[in-house]
């Protein structure tokens, strides 16, 4: 009998040796196994996570290294045999079982490039429904689902689509923002590598909703694996007639291409991204006009994050309420949270909004990997604020996190232990802004340089009180006078670090 064995092809799994493990299993098995390369289940501390299909379900072993292969075979792992690396039935592992996987329902389960597998697991249902609806029906469903942008700004997706749809007929575009530059985030990457068809399906639905016939996925160059998976997925969808002219014998036409970024954080900002898509410098543009009215090449364009678009097929397949029933307050549905940094069980946790940070960090995440105390967590990427364990009871949501002086951003949480140097981290925030600023406005371009210099002076013990005042004024200026959130939010990590750990700024450990 041939046994199905799953070994992820997700980049994070590959980064810790999944290819070698797959090869070793194949070599050792003498034709007894069929290796399927799936996405990652998101339990990244267990990667490479090898799953064996058994009558009881898929049984997980991990983290597996090449050295473990002999003993796995000796323990009869092809029948789910006992072994120190055995983690039980994958879907019963508490970390996995306690999630609400809507957007990530198929990730890790299926072969990402097997369209049959995709359809057998609910894929294309949403698109088929959408193809039988009028544009405004689709928009209404998205509106009542409560879906908001997962790229950082949290703008209601339905309203954006409505605006673009209301523009006169003619050339329109839909762009997926796959620039995922925030440190501590990798959900876009995992979805593109683990279930690329869902992003494409979401884009076709969006295209039909606004009347666009051309789309782009703008992927950062740091993601070579995602780029190659997406390119293959597009060809497969074209061959199957789900991309191109008259999709599924309807009047909907849609052509989709992948475009690759070139290492610029600011190109995640939508107007910068659109410039970059036109082959230009990624300089931010003044709004209005908003892209939904005048975007790529001056045409109505919707830009949505990968996770936003990846949530659309579920909503169209199961209805607005099935999504809106999850979540809390104005944060509807689920968010794929990403646990990163010094964390025991790092990975992806898709949960309904409203889960506490405590549950994510200490519950799912199991505290630090180093075993040290948690000092602070940075939420929302490099422009997000720090938060300390006393405030971990905060419920995860757009408004609740903003009240806690941080933000949801793209759903990343980076854990720092008690060795973290907050002054260094504040300096890094300014340095990052200096390196990644698009240069359009002075508070950001020059302010970040001055901010870094001022923090250097504080670090060396020079006129500390005065320099803290200067830094404070500078942060005010950056917040008030920057054109976009790059300069406008860089003060957030700096100020929260100063407010939470004043001693590290007032009495820095002077390194001579």
């Amino acid at each position: 009998m041939i046994v199905n064995v799953y070994v992820p092809c997700d980049a994070a799994a590959l980064s810790v040796g999944a290819d070698d493990v797959a090869n070793a299993i194949l070599k050792h098995s003498k034709g007894k196994v069929n290796i399927i390369r799936n996405g990652s289940r998101g339990m990244l501390w267990l990667e490479p996570l090898v799953e064996v299909e058994t009558p009881k379900g898929r049984v997980a072993y991990g983290p597996v290294s090449v050295e473990d292969i002999n003993s796995l075979f000796a323990s009869n792992f092809l029948e789910g045999g006992d072994h120190p690396l055995l983690n039980g039935i994958t879907e019963e592992i508490p970390y996995f079982a306690n999630q609400e996987r809507l957007t990530f329902a198929r990730v890790g389960k299926i072969d990402p490039l097997d369209l049959n597998d995709y359809q057998a697991n609910g894929g294309l249902l949403g698109l088929k429904n959408a193809l039988s609806m009028q544009s405004d029906e689709i928009v209404d469903i998205i509106k009542s689902s409560g879906l908001r942008g997962r790229g950082g700004a949290g703008f209601p997706t339905g309203i954006k689509w409505e605006t673009a749809g209301a523009q006169p007929k003619g050339q329109k575009y839909i762009c997926a923002n796959a620039d995922e530059g925030d440190s501590g985030t990798f959900a876009d990457r995992m979805l593109m590598e683990g279930d690329p068809f869902s992003l494409i399906e979401g884009m076709i639905i969006g295209a039909r909703a606004i009347g666009a016939d051309k789309g782009y996925i703008y992927v950062r160059s740091e993601y070579p694996h995602a780029i190659s998976t997406l390119k293959s997925a597009i060809v497969i969808m074209e061959d199957a007639g789900w991309l191109g002219d008259n999709i599924n014998d309807t009047e909907t036409n849609f052509e989709l291409s992948v475009r690759i970024g070139a290492g610029a954080y600011i190109c995640g900002e939508e107007s910068s991204m659109l410039e970059s898509l036109e082959g230009k410098r990624g300089q931010v543009k003044v709004k209005p006009p908003i892209p939904a009215i005048s975007g790529m090449f001056g045409k109505p364009t919707i830009v949505n994050n990968v996770l936003t678009l990846g949530s659309v097929p579920f909503i169209l397949a199961h209805g607005a309420n099935s999504y809106a029933n999850f979540g809390e307050g104005r944060s509807k549905g689920t968010q794929p949270f990403q646990l990163a940094g010094d964390i025991n069980r790092g990975g992806l946790v898709e949960k309904a909004f409203g889960v506490s940070m405590e549950d994510l960090i200490n519950g799912f995440g199991g505290g630090t990997k180093s075993g040290r105390q948690i000092k602070a967590v940075q939420a929302g990427g490099p422009l997000g604020g720090y938060i300390t364990p006393e405030n971990f009871d905060v419920a995860m949501g757009y408004e609740t996190l903003a009240e806690a002086k941080t933000m949801l951003g793209h759903g990343g949480l980076v854990v720092f232990n008690d060795t973290a140097n907050m002054l260094n981290l504040a300096r890094y925030a300014m340095e990052f802004c200096e390196i990644e600023s698009c240069g359009k406005c002075t508070p950001c371009r020059i302010g970040s340089v001055r901010g870094k210099e001022t923090l250097d002076k504080i670090a060396s013990g020079e006129n500390i009180e005065e320099n803290i005042q200067i830094l404070d004024d500078l942060c005010d200026l950056m917040e008030e006078a920057s054109l976009c959130a790059m300069g406008g939010l860089t003060p957030m990590p700096v100020r929260t670090a100063m407010r939470l750990f004043p001693n590290e700024f007032n009495n820095p450990i002077v390194v001579s």
């Binding site: 590959l14 501390w45 990798f186 970059s276």
Partner: protein
Amino acid sequence: MTTLLNTIDHVFAKKVCSEHQNKPDELLEILHEIQVQEGFLSDRVLRTVSKSLNLSRAEVHGVVSFYHDFKKEKQAENVIKICRAEACQAVDVDKLIADVESYYDIKMDNGGGKVSLETIFCLGNCALGPAVLYKNDLYGRVTLKAVQKMIASTKGVKEQ
């Protein structure tokens, strides 16, 4: 002599441009493709690209200088891109950088003939840091030993 050489079109660059129908909006793709093949973007390449796409040299230069990926000088044989963003800092990437710098006697972001170290901000491997991208392969939980191993077993440059 040099001016004369510089005015001659760069054959490969010209080919790539025409494969993209000389469309200016595909400039980034074109530059990526040429750089994968040539290792960097020479003056002659940029001259050819601007001529083919009917852009001014200043426009092309503006794009090349804006994006961190594009290089105007020859790069080291082995470029190790180390993530220096927050989640990797949280697992002490600074120590890894110091170790690699001292072992190979190089400085971060300061060139090098055989081995060089380059800053990159986040590789999407933030739960398994420190993260490194080396010849388009991603590595996680990287140590000095792992870096030595990857350089010893260079698999050759892969294309995107």
